[in-house]
Symmetry: C2
Subunit: 210 residues, 2 copies
Amino acid sequence: MATTTSGTRRRVGKPRGSYAKTDEKRRAILDAALEVFAQSGYRSGSIRDIAERVGMSEAGLLHHFPNKSTLLAAVLERRDDRAVQFIPLDENFGGRSTVNGLLELASYNASEPGVVELYCTLSAEGTSPDHPAHQYFIDRYEWSRGMIERAFTIIQAEGDLRPGVTPASAAARTLAMMDGLQVQWLLDRDVLDMTEELRNFFRTIVSYEL
Amino acid sequence: MATTTSGTRRRVGKPRGSYAKTDEKRRAILDAALEVFAQSGYRSGSIRDIAERVGMSEAGLLHHFPNKSTLLAAVLERRDDRAVQFIPLDENFGGRSTVNGLLELASYNASEPGVVELYCTLSAEGTSPDHPAHQYFIDRYEWSRGMIERAFTIIQAEGDLRPGVTPASAAARTLAMMDGLQVQWLLDRDVLDMTEELRNFFRTIVSYEL
DNA sequence: GTCTATAGAGGGATAGAC
DNA sequence: GTCTATCCCTCTATAGAC
């Protein structure tokens, strides 16, 4: 096999080193796009703004990404594993490790306001059926709920889920709590400690010490 | 006192009846604006779209509201008491009645997707400091947290708050839960019962039967 | 790979006629 | 109170030069 495809780029018959600058540009564009989409949302965020931040023209930017929605998809794809990396998913997947991972994620989020803004803004915007990221968010929530539900099921089997709590309900409520805390935190970062409140929430769900 | 001011309108020296049609138009505009701002947000929602829905020109609409942000303020002001009406605020304010009121509010919300969309979309958009509704949402959350905190303080005094739960934390988390459930509900209305999940949440906060 | 130029759509707001 | 006409801005995307 002589061809490798990475996204839409083709790297056939040329030395890799000559693409270093292109990849750097792409990364710079994605960083700027994250900022802009986070602050203005997708619909109101402009390619012009992104291009300015990265120091190039709109046409220059569109050489790397054919259009705006492709750029959004690339931003989401790039940041997607961010959350997942906090949770051991393979054979090390466990109940308590997932809960701890979510707490660490909340803590990490508090250090990256831009990313919090991005997901908060885009998930609300993305509730519209005609939004380019609509299906992305549907899939993302479905997957996350399932993952967290499995974690709580394990905790329940260990006898550490509080009476009356079901794994499915607790999973949906965990995501809701994380999302909702972010809104209040973005409005006023001093009014609320996201990690501490998420921990308080978990204390009402599981019976072991946290 | 010969003058009455209602918003920016002045009704001096003319019979009230002659304004019935104007008020009707204003209401129609506000209804359309709610739909548009709910579906597209403030920044991407257009006066043009709102005017079309109400069957008039942009200039005609702008006769009633001088500009776009004034229109947004009017939409928010009009729908603001919606939530408050579910909670007895005067001398009848109480712990359990507030919790019940919030459950009824969640139930009402599920029957008015447009209003849920509006607040979900705008509160996320409004986290930006330059958004015209930014301060509105800061004030709104602060007021709501205080109100709910007072309710939980009463419940605590009655010995019905679960051990380890503080009124302030429970208040912030109650709002977070309501907001977060709405996002998931808007993405897929069959995946989740907002009222039931809010009730499940309250069960982890208070110790009396719900 | 990046630019200029431009097309073509859509937006907020104002002036002035009726 | 509502309209048409208009101004001037912003936006995405494409064509084609370099």
